[in-house]
């Protein structure tokens, strides 16, 4: 099973110049925990902002989310892997790098995101198919 089979292809994003509050609104409305942060240039210049970033870097520090720009707290560069990477390898990468999501790329274009939940679901399907490694 490859990353593209289980990634989420609909990428929710926010421009790097927007405020953290704009990002938070989007995350709440869409019920998601992270957003791709679009920086000028190619997709590989993009970053990611997570609920964890918002809490630790802004709210918990008493900063005003309307005054902090997304670009100030976004993590860059993003972890990008080939969409054709086997899922098992992707899961190993997540563990090795301590990241909860990997962006799937087709060349220099981001085409999807594989979250920890996606990876877990895919692994459970592999188990059900009898293809897991014990």
């Amino acid at each position: 099973m490859k990353v593209y089979e289980f990634m989420t292809t609909r990428l929710e994003s926010v421009d790097s110049g927007k405020s953290v509050y704009d990002a938070v609104e989007k995350m709440v409305d869409r019920r998601i925990r992270s957003l791709l942060v679009r920086f000028p240039g190619s997709d590989l210049e993009d970053g990611v902002i997570t609920a964890r970033d918002v809490v630790y870097k802004v709210l918990a520090q008493g900063k005003d989310p309307q005054k902090v720009k997304v670009s100030e707290i976004a993590s860059r560069p993003i972890s990008c892997v080939s969409k054709d990477l086997p899922l098992r390898d992707a899961a190993e990468l997540m563990e090795r790098d301590g990241v909860a999501r990997l962006f799937a790329c087709d060349g220099s274009r981001i085409v999807g995101v594989l979250s920890m939940m996606d990876a877990m679901a895919a692994m459970l399907i592999l188990r059900a198919r009898g293809e897991h490694v014990s």
């Binding site: 989420t8 399907i125 059900a128």
Partner: protein, 209 residues
């Protein structure tokens, strides 16, 4: 194990189980043809779905006849028949979606997401077949059924996005819009019925135990 536990005439039951497996395999072939046809806008391949549905219909009739001619213990026959009917209903949905597709100019803006749903439907059929095989081998179905539910949830997520995108498409002709809506509705309902079929295998498995 399943067969040994339940039957008097083993050959007859084996034949039915083989036919049930073939029935789902045909459904999977149909879903694959549908997925490829949708992805590449290949009308000839989409017509293949109708042919496969007819083949599957013949197998369905054979299975039900064999069951009521005496295969399996009587209390299991309605449950097995219901399972076969559920698989048949999935095929009906798929065929109707194929007919709708052939009758409209499908918007390219929906193709990628719709193809993804079709791909997941195909994968679900594969998992349903694995579930049936596991049941006939007397194995626990818990993990197989969870895998099917996972697929179903993913289709559900895509369904809302697809419907949202569809609403943005300008419709000039009522019937064109109606058929597009029918197409999307059928495409996204396939997974619900496969999940029902999988749940029914769970019921049969519980009865056997």
């Amino acid at each position: 194990m399943f067969l040994k536990k339940l039957i008097g005439h083993e050959d007859r039951e084996k034949e039915v189980v083989q036919d049930m497996d073939d029935h789902i395999r045909l459904l999977q072939d149909g879903c694959r043809a549908f997925h490829e046809a949708l992805e590449h806008n290949d009308h000839n391949r989409m017509r293949r779905v109708k042919e496969l549905e007819r083949e599957a219909d013949t197998i369905r009739r054979d299975i039900v006849s064999h069951i009521y001619e005496g295969a399996f213990l009587p209390y299991l026959r309605p449950e097995l028949s219901k399972f076969v009917e559920l698989v048949d209903q999935v095929f009906d949905l798929l065929e109707y979606a194929a007919v709708c597709y052939l009758g409209i100019r499908f918007p390219d803006s929906l193709r990628s997401e719709a193809s993804r749903v079709a791909f997941l439907n195909e994968e679900m059929c594969g998992m349903l077949r694995i579930t049936l095989q596991a049941m006939t081998a007397g194995e626990d179905l818990r993990e197989k059924r969870l895998a099917i539910r996972i697929y179903e949830k993913r289709v559900d997520d895509l369904k809302f996005d697809l419907m949202k995108d569809a609403r943005a498409i300008p419709i000039e002709d009522f019937w064109e819009g109606n058929m597009l809506a029918d197409f999307l509705s059928r495409l996204c309902s396939v997974s619900d019925l496969i999940e029902d079929a999988s749940d029914h295998l769970g019921v049969i498995s519980s009865i056997i135990k």
